[in-house]
């Protein structure tokens, strides 16, 4: 059974860091760990994912080595949370998955615009702890 998820996020995106903070505040069934995508730490731990800059999609890696990208990665984040696990199941159902894919792809591609529109500066939300792969708790 999966006990921990590592989420590779875009550290240059204020909206993403804001989401990260929200995820960390929710009661969760599995531990969530965040890692800045493209960071040295990420490259060291997951060399296969490539080191070149920031990936264009959200990546989640479970503690069994499974890799999830895009909409599946979003769904895994929801699945980790006690209050949203049912929603993860719903969004992953054949009926909603195409919509979920579309919505997540849209938000992902527009994340810098969203950050700008809402005035989320990445520095504003960065936590005091070391920014790389700091575990929840």
């Amino acid at each position: 059974m999966i006990q921990r998820l590592t989420v590779l996020t875009d550290a240059s995106c204020g909206f993403c860091i804001r989401c990260e903070g929200w995820l960390l505040r929710q009661p969760a069934f599995v531990e969530l760990e965040f890692c800045a995508a493209g960071s040295r730490e990420a490259a060291r731990r997951f060399p296969e994912l490539g080191t070149s800059g920031t990936p264009e999609e959200l990546i989640v890696i479970d503690d069994e080595g499974g890799i999830y990208r895009g909409a599946r990665a979003w769904i895994m984040c929801l699945w980790a949370l006690a209050e949203y696990r049912e929603w993860a199941g719903r969004l992953a159902s054949p009926l909603f998955l195409p919509f979920a894919r579309g919505a997540f792809a849209f938000v992902s591609s527009k994340r810098h615009t969203i950050s700008e529109l809402m005035g989320f500066e990445p520095e504003q939300f960065r936590r005091a702890e070391p920014p790389h792969c700091d575990a929840r708790g």
Partner: protein
């Protein structure tokens, strides 16, 4: 309109209809409560993730609540509706009232089932596998 006092046959019909109603309603309530208590236990044990002590406790409390609501409803509902003066009206009264009691019992039963099914679903969530499959695996973990 002046209310005529019931006399003779009419009075005894009313009394018999009322008594039949009370006996049948309370009897039905006891039977339903007993059935729910007996057959609902395993469902509750599962809802509480195998905690039998808690399941038994909730089961008893539910039966108490069930009696309170139903006997209360039956008592209150007695005087509403027609006052039977002959056998035909007596049968109508009996049938209408029993129908109402049965519908209330059924409504409560489904509400209880809904609440416990929701609780059970929430309890099962903790052990649910991820709804999506990974697209690949890290070579280090796969080895």
């Amino acid at each position: 309109m002046e209310i005529q006092p019931l006399e003779g046959l009419a009075a005894s019909t009313t009394i018999w209809a009322y008594l039949a109603y009370l006996t049948a309603s309370v009897g039905l309530t006891v039977w339903v409560a007993h059935t729910l208590h007996r057959n609902g236990r395993i469902f509750l044990v599962d809802s509480f993730l195998g905690n039998e002590g808690l399941a038994d406790s909730v089961n008893h409390l539910l039966v108490v609540g069930f009696y309170l609501v139903n006997v209360g409803f039956v008592s209150l509902a007695l005087k509403y509706g027609i006052k039977p003066r002959n056998t035909v009206e007596g049968i109508e009264f009996f049938s209408t009232k029993i129908g109402m009691v049965l519908l209330v019992l059924g409504g409560m039963h489904f509400f209880n089932l809904y609440v416990f099914a929701t609780m059970r679903r929430k309890a099962m969530l903790k052990h649910q596998r991820p709804p999506v499959q990974p697209e690949g695996f890290l070579a280090a973990k796969r080895a």
